[in-house]
Amino acid sequence: MSEPNSQLWEVFIRSRNGLAHKHAGSLHAADSTLALQAARDVYTRRGEGLSIWVVPSNAITASDPAEAGMMFEPAQSKIYRHPTFYDVPDEVGHM
């Protein structure tokens, strides 16, 4: 008796402050035009956005949490990538 599952979409909104599009939530729609309209009606009711992306949820490839160690831990030891790693004499001032 269950209906076939309708397409799920991920909604990304760029807010007024000029930041990048950010994931706002999901919705169901049969096609991209309806998805965009629904995103506008569901996720920007309080003036949250100036631009919307909708992406079919099944088009997203995600990293595997089981591989989080291999994927992300090697970056943690590269402290020389951060400015605080380097000493600059106080007399030089802000750099």
Binding site: S2, E3, G25, S26, S57, I60
Partner: protein, 333 residues
């Protein structure tokens, strides 16, 4: 990410309850880390959350009906706009919550089927009728007030998508309770008839609101496990007490009388003591014997059934368009 596709039932692995994975999971939760859709989780955690989030979603959607009952009769244009916006918000909240539940592997269609098939529960409060305009004030003030007590701690729930949905819900709901209280203030400063209407609404909604927090702690089925998993941060009785303490002074300001002769401030505990709740009534309403259970389900089934041809049409058009594009591409190639 709120994706359904990523959560296609994973092999049987998750039923094996691998001791190692289980220990790591428990440690992460204990450490206040968020669990995300792709993460390994115990089957019972998935089941508990699916049940809780989908019941929460059903409650938002069924909850549109008692208030929606007054949209066409709101007494001023300002009230009409506010009420329509508020009930629309409930719809949005249901939508966010279904999406959060979907990340656990059940589709919205399945979850809605469970509701319409009578297999899923929703908040008992929405099985009471809205008889007068004051009920709209009382719902905003008391029902939303009680809901907020429940929902704020859920913003820190261990399951990421649920917590994020609740953050959005709480932000949007901040006007709901004020909207209701403003109606109560206006009525309680109005004519004698209006004051009586406000008092009557408080009398009818007060006890069902106290029941909204669920059975007393000694009887709660889901309490301990949910607390350990950081799905639930406060017990039913703690939240209920918090609600009573916050609400009694608000009722006093309105000049209304609480329908509880045993209500009194306890100097020792610094809390308001209140009378016994009729848990039989709660059980009856949950079992389907409230004043509006049948009407609520009939309305949801009708909307679902009447809308089926629209959903089919949208899907049929999408399929045709895809086929037409494919044909165009084939010609071009």
């Amino acid at each position: 990410m709120y994706t359904q596709a990523l959560n296609a039932p994973q092999s049987d692995e998750r039923h094996l309850e691998d001791a190692d994975k289980s220990a790591r999971f428990e440690a992460r939760v204990a450490n206040e880390q968020r669990i995300e859709p792709n993460d390994w989780m115990p089957a019972a955690y998935r089941k508990t959350l699916t049940r809780q989030i989908s019941q929460h979603a059903h409650s938002e959607i069924v909850g549109m009906l008692p208030e929606g009952n007054w949209i066409t009769r709101a007494p001023t244009l300002r009230r009409k706009a506010a009420l329509l916006a508020k009930v629309q918000d409930e719809c949005g909240h249901g939508l966010y919550l279904y999406a959060a539940a979907e990340t656990l592997g059940s589709s919205r269609e399945e979850l809605v089927d469970q509701l319409l098939g009578g297999k899923a529960k929703y908040s008992s409060i929405f099985n009471y009728p809205t008889l007068t305009w004051a009920d709209i004030g009382a719902i905003g003030w008391l029902v939303d007030g009680a809901a907020i007590m429940n929902q704020i701690p859920l913003c820190r729930c261990s399951y990421g998508p649920y917590a994020r949905a609740m953050i959005r819900v709480c932000k949007e709901e901040s006007f709901h309770q004020r909207q209701g209280y403003e109606i109560m203030v206006t009525l309680s400063r109005g004519t004698d008839e209006q004051k009586a209407m406000a008092q009557d609404a408080l009398n009818r909604w007060w006890w069902p609101c106290l029941m909204m927090f669920g059975p007393p702690d000694q009887q709660s089925q889901h309490g301990n496990q949910s607390t350990r998993w950081k799905i639930k941060r406060f017990s039913n009785d703690e939240l209920r007490q918090k609600f009573v303490d916050a609400t009694v002074p608000q009722a006093r300001y309105l000049g209304l009388t609480m329908p509880d002769p045993e209500l009194r401030f306890n100097d020792a505990t610094q809390h308001w003591d209140f009378g016994a709740i009729d848990w039989q009534e709660f059980a009856d309403v949950l079992a389907g014997f409230g004043p509006c259970n049948r009407d609520r389900m009939a309305a949801r089934r009708k909307a679902h059934d009447d809308g089926a041809w629209v959903r089919e049409a949208a899907q049929a058009y999408a399929d045709k368009e895809r086929a037409r594009r494919a044909a165009d591409n084939a010609v071009a190639a």
